[in-house]
Symmetry: C2
Subunit: 285 residues, 2 copies
């Protein structure tokens, strides 16, 4: 049984055909343009295959309230052409197969949970730290979702005593995303993170913030494992630093077991989103 | 069908007999002593009734990992005689009926969700602000629980620029519980909260911290309603102040609808815990 997966990102779309074991048969990647042109390209790619269902991890915010008239519609977004665009409706019309939709980071979390770094646990939180910060939580095979979907990157965390940076979040200034996303690093130091590789202080501060967020996530969600991905986490030294600050800040209040197995890197490179989209079709297990 | 409910607190036990509609038939309250003496008193109270099951909301931390050998056992607690006490096992031996156990704040949340201020919504977070700070989350009739249970009162929140209080949490110092619990108020100002009723600044600062925590809870859990209870919330002006700071801090990033229906007072006085214990028996609905 072939299924379709779509990683609908704000800058690029990835479409793939594969199966619910996570195997990819064919894949394409193209830039995100206006909705109709982009979805025409999606249609063109999948037309070659007989697919039985489609899973979508979409950029957002997106309406995921099951009882809503606009379920599956993009909500407020700076990408004005996509505002209020009914991506789910268009896909259902094009393909006449069941379409399952969630957020991009939820799909990525499901991908790691089913096929990657969360395969051996009952619950995991996947955090992506890049242009923005977001997190998805899968528990007993089910993607956690409240009334709509969480926006975990926007939690408030205490600012480091030596850091007076105002933050880059247009809504909150110095929320986590405002203090620790890729653009926050760039604006604080005047250059992009990968050009700051040698500056230990940059990564100590970054780890301090991420660790605080992980303490908050842990006392709130009690996950079995935390998987850290996204562009900023390409700085591999961050894993050790984050573990160090987490242990200091948590101070053994909640026992998380072996820290090296609690805070980990993704196992699926950059493919967790697309196989997670396949995983949506598979449902829970 | 009569059921038993137990609110197993660190300072007092409440036992009640009633039904799963939330009706209380008989009730008793006594101080918490050593485990065996206390549980003897529990046994004595229920012996008069034919109960078909018991629900328990217990102080903690408590082992709620379903696959654990010590499921239903009190974990580390400053009350040394209760440390590692198998409260679930003792109740099962005494009564030979099914016993359902969760944390005190989870039971209180379930009580408000089923019979009180959360009756008309699909998900609610109940936060108690008193000697400690804790929160429970019920979603679609199910009590949220991760690997073990959350400890949401221990999240980190940014400290107010004019507040240099070190906090009273023995683990984290200035986590939410360290900054905003009843003992934090007492230690910061040198007297108990109810003696500070007229001091507007005390409650502005308190509301500032609680609101920040609610922003974090909201972006993480996306609840439909937030119910604030516990001793500190007896200061009724706090509700309006918390709503004011919440709106300012959230800055319309997540739309929560009518704020007066989003952040509310409990509807069950101090009975949410005991009827929530009845509710545990009823299961989900």
């Amino acid at each position: 049984m072939l299924v379709g997966g779509i990683e609908a990102g704000g800058t690029k779309f990835v479409c793939a055909v594969g199966d619910t074991s996570g195997k990819v048969v064919d894949k394409i990647c193209f830039p995100t343009r206006d909705p109709e042109t982009t979805l025409d390209e999606v249609q063109h790619f999948f037309a070659k295959y007989e697919i039985s269902a489609i899973g979508v991890g979409s950029f957002g915010p997106i309406d995921l309230r099951r009882d809503s008239n606009t379920y599956g519609t993009i909500l407020n977004t700076p990408k004005t052409k996509w505002k209020h665009y009914d991506i789910l409706g268009r896909l259902e019309r094009d393909f006449s197969v069941p379409v399952f939709i969630t957020t991009d980071v939820n799909a990525a979390c499901l991908g790691e949970y089913k096929y990657g770094a969360g395969k051996d646990v009952n619950s995991c939180l996947y955090i992506t730290i890049g242009t923005g910060i977001g997190a998805g939580f899968v528990h007993d095979g089910i993607i956690f979702q409240g009334k709509n979907h969480p926006e975990m990157g926007h939690i408030f965390v205490p600012q480091h005593k030596d850091d007076d940076f105002k933050g880059v979040c247009p809504y909150h200034g110095n929320c986590l995303e405002g203090l620790a996303s890729g653009p926050a690093i760039e604006q604080r130091y005047g250059k992009k993170g990968h050009l700051l590789s040698d500056d230990q202080q940059v990564w100590e501060l970054e780890a301090f913030y991420i660790a605080q967020a992980i303490v908050n996530y842990t006392v709130m969600l009690s996950p079995e494992r935390i998987i850290l991905g996204g562009g900023v986490m390409k700085q591999e030294r961050l894993y050790e630093l984050i573990r160090k600050y987490f242990m200091k800040q948590m101070n053994e209040y909640v026992h998380v077991g072996n820290i090296d197995e609690f805070i980990v890197a993704p196992k699926l490179g950059d493919h967790q989103g697309i196989v997670g989209a396949f995983g949506l079709v598979d449902g829970v297990d």
